[in-house]
Symmetry: C2
Subunit: 596 residues, 2 copies
């Protein structure tokens, strides 16, 4: 049975030592965000994740969700009780506004607790996660009345939320969607249509489910310009704002999926279901995309979380399993064989995963801190920078981190040999659950296109230029220290190669946009590697400073060893990506479609 132990030491290192999130307290909004409270919350979340959620992970995978003849859905044994604890302990409101009953703590706090829940039980963590996401849309686009009506119970988690975008004939291309909304005399709408792949679409854990639904108001323009966003509650509300009459929105089927079996992925049928417009007519995508950016960050975090839990179990196995002898002579002479962690190729897979995980954690946490700073920082220029960076980093965190997490979970499974393939050992589930993260909230190819086709060029390329300048300044500031020189060299080289790729794409994407499209995923990986190189350089500087100040905590020296692996062994991929990008569209597009 796989285990999960939240990497509290590493989380706190990133949050407190590298990112200094304690300084957020100087802003009025976060005046109560003191580090003692943070530690208490992290401890509580770690305990809940390890003791309650992790043991339910295999249960969820094995049982899945069950749809009954009346359209109701039962979640796996234990999920309902665990969710009750989430609600009762106010876990979902950690970073939600106090006016709706939240604790108002920085987003980076709930990123850490969210990572833990997702690592322990990804399918479960989606129920609260999607609820926070749906609440976000109401927060962004809803009327004061809508906020007052829905947000308090979505903040506690008494009500959960969903996003209803995809239809059978349209996923990425939302302009094709057909679900129809007919205006009613009372200002509400009647929605009719079918949505598919709706995570947490129906279940037995909450009093009500608040569906956010994209639909086309009768007579609206075609394509993406005619899409509106609606609130469609499972139960309409009675006069006192509680769940009342059933709304005709129902689960028609549950999909049988490769993974995340514990989350009900529903076909949702809307048959004249009552809905309430969020914001303006035909402006639904704007709100949806703000919410989706946050969701994309959350998906990147799911990748990290699965990679981390897979890593932890692989380490345990590699230390326990005795098989073969070290190439450099026995390390466990008393035993019948050495633990397989002595073998360089097993180490390679573990180091690759560890270096990736720790770098990704820093990157995701930094990005979430930028979200927090964007809401409080006094300097407009700085807030603009936060927004610029988030624009760049969101597709990278979603696309690069989940792509790489797929590879690392597979490597961690590989360490188990034949046992990795047997469901009982749990490694298969980590791989299968991770798989969806490359697909939903915009497939990774779409992330790459968003990065290359939109984010790079926005405001004349301001975002990347600013980031490059920041990196240059960081390297210059830290170039005196020989002990971190490899990190600075690695970062500088990465930045230069990324710049070369950027220039190539800019020049050649102009003459033929397919040149940009054909190199987009390679470019996204280059930016992922460069971002991680920056994070590793920052972490190395922090760790080295602690060592120089006399700390003899192994944590710091191990951090540097892990980072050196990243620089020496993972950055070489940049050359391969760059070379591929520079071949352009021609070799990719030359074959006629009929010849495939």
């Amino acid at each position: 049975m796989p285990v999960y132990n939240a990497p509290l030491r590493d989380m706190k290192f990133v949050m407190q030592e590298v990112l200094d999130i304690g300084s957020l307290q100087k802003y009025e909004k976060f005046a109560e965000a003191d580090m003692d409270t943070l530690e208490a919350i992290l401890e509580q979340s770690a305990k809940f994740s390890s003791e309650v959620l992790a043991p339910l992970n295999a249960v969820g995978d094995h049982e899945g969700c069950t749809r009954h003849a009346d359209g109701s859905v039962t979640t796996p044994k234990g999920f309902k009780e665990a969710y009750k604890q989430v609600v009762e302990n106010g876990m979902m409101g950690l970073s939600e506004p106090e006016e709706f009953g939240g604790m108002g703590m920085p987003s980076i706090w709930s990123t850490a607790t969210g990572e833990m829940q997702s690592a322990a039980n990804m399918a479960f963590a989606m129920y609260p996660g999607l609820t926070n996401g749906a609440a976000k849309a109401i927060k962004i686009g809803g009327s004061p009345e809508q906020k007052a009506t829905y947000l308090p119970k979505m903040t506690t988690g008494e009500w959960t939320g969903t996003m209803n975008l995809t239809e059978p004939h349209c996923g990425t291309d939302l302009g094709l969607l057909k679900t129809k909304a007919v205006p009613q005399a009372d200002g509400s709408y009647k929605l009719t249509g079918q949505k598919i792949f709706i995570s947490a679409g129906e279940h037995d854990m909450s009093d009500n489910i608040i569906h956010l639904v994209l639909a086309r108001i009768e007579g609206a323009p075609e394509g993406v310009k005619g899409i509106s966003l609606f609130i469609v509650p499972k139960f309409k509300l009675d006069e006192s704002g509680n769940s009342g009459e059933r709304n005709p929105v129902s689960c028609g089927a549950i999909e049988e999926k490769m993974g995340i079996h514990g989350n009900a992925t529903c076909v949702m049928n809307f048959d004249d279901a009552e809905g309430y417009l969020i914001g303006e007519e035909n402006k639904g995508l704007r709100v949806m995309f703000v919410m989706m950016n946050e969701a994309r960050m959350g998906v990147g975090m799911q990748g990290l979380a699965q990679s981390d839990v897979a890593y932890q179990n692989a380490v345990d196995y590699a230390n326990d399993r005795l098989q073969g002898r070290s190439l450099t002579g026995p390390k466990n002479e008393a035993g019948p064989a050495d633990p397989i962690i002595v073998h360089p190729d097993v180490r390679r897979m573990l180091m690759e995963t560890k270096a990736f995980n720790e770098g990704s954690r820093a990157l995701i946490y930094w990005a979430t801190l930028l979200e927090d700073l964007e809401t409080v920082h006094e300097d407009e220029k700085f807030r603009e920078k936060c927004d610029d960076y988030l624009g760049l980093l969101t597709p990278v965190i979603k696309g690069y981190i989940t792509d790489k997490a797929m590879a690392t979970t597979i490597d961690c499974q590989q360490i188990f040999g034949g046992h990795g393939f047997i469901e009982e050992w749990g490694m298969s589930q980590f791989v299968r659950d991770t798989r969806i993260a490359l697909i939903y909230e915009g497939a990774n190819g779409i992330q790459a296109l968003d990065l290359v086709g939109r984010k790079l060029a926005r405001n004349g390329g301001r975002a990347l230029m600013t980031l490059n300048n920041e990196i240059d300044a960081f390297v210059a500031d830290n170039s005196g220290n020989e002990k971190t020189a490899e990190f600075m060299d690695g970062l500088k080289t990465a930045k230069n190669k990324l710049t070369e790729a950027t220039m190539w794409l800019m020049q050649n994407g102009m003459t033929n946009p397919d040149n940009a499209g054909a190199g987009s995923v390679d470019y996204m990986h280059m930016m992922g590697l460069t971002s991680l190189a920056y994070m590793w350089a920052k972490m190395a500087v922090t760790a080295q400073a602690a060592i120089d100040a006399g700390s003899n905590d192994d944590f710091y020296s191990n951090k540097i060893i892990t980072g050196r692996y990243f620089v020496l062994r993972m950055l070489p991929m940049l050359d391969a990506h760059l070379a591929k990008i520079k071949t352009g569209a021609e070799p990719v597009m030359a074959l006629e479609a009929a010849a495939f």
Copy 2:
């Protein structure tokens, strides 16, 4: 429902035009191996694979195998009937010796039919595949009487076979195995112990199951020097050689696995089961390894096969699914959107898979042809070369091709977006089934170690030197033609980089064997890429010659376009692998085991 259509044109191109297997007919052994017969057999096999096996693939995945209270096992609905057709049509004997009832055709013939069966239904194809493998061990090491007793019915498939190696505490490290064999007065042995992960260990498709079992004879030396190989039939044979009394070897459980559900993966319990020694006492591994080399080739082929069927279905979906518009303007103006095959990143994934598949097919078929030539060629030097090359190529075909097939099946699944994650569409199964190929018959890390630690150095590095000379000569012979110049340049560059890596490993592995271990998987991938570069260069020369001779069959020009993708877009990985190798063991091994 996924489909499979055997790529007959490509198979015949490789076999007849590139490898000229028709010339095998000049050897007496293959006098009847004419190309008309080959075509008829390929057609028949293609039809059987598409029409009978492919529709059973999802059935097998969904139903799995069922173990009953008495230890008997039922295979998925339809498997038994399909297997009956295999037996009745003599498909398993295609390349088996005529003296045991086979057709005696070259191995490369059955490689092609095996690829088809494996692509259509990997879990099913393992039953005949393992039987051929077990028969091979008896052919290599068995007494004339054992051969006469077992091989005829294993050649028809009336009896199936298994390999029993792994025990709960030992997989890779066979020296640890405990299954005990006690000599009996009549020359037989009684075997006691437990084996796990035994594919096709018990089922309902054949009259008898012939288990090949590694065990330790009482009093044998410890470790690998005390392992013997036994035949343990499920039913002992009566006087006329038919299945008689039940032998106490039974299936204790079926494993619940990530994939290949249609194949019964059994825990096998031997309780004083009667067994017969193959060859000499304590020399069991020798026979087992010869057989395993062939099995490893077969596993590489499974990787190719799954990658090919995944590719075929991804192409269909990419042509059907309308979503978004081409970056260079609409390609399907009359429709609501363009088929997604217009998008460069979708193309990239399809081209990568296609270029890999076609290169791998050539490599595997070439290697199998070397097996055939090794048995018939008049020149001892040539036969030695065949053996040398097979030593090098076997771990590459097993390790590199399955590693890469994992990535390509995931890419093909990705093309389906959300539908790729839904079991109904079948793409998940291809990924899940492929996963085992990286593990069994020696995990891919073991293949890499076999290559770097054993195969490279054997006979003073003769094998690779010979291959390098062959490549140099090939490049020199074909350097005049501008139309294939990119292929020659790519091949030459690949060979030079591989040589650089080889030199580095030789020099630095001497001082510290972990230097070789830490770079072994990267090296295996470099050799995979270089081997494919050689195959692509050969195919390009053949295709260009056809074009130059006036052919206007698009097949040839498309072949060159696909190969150019390989050279331009896939060979750049060599640099990344080389750079990683040259960092050596230090960054991989620096962290203390306790610090993971």
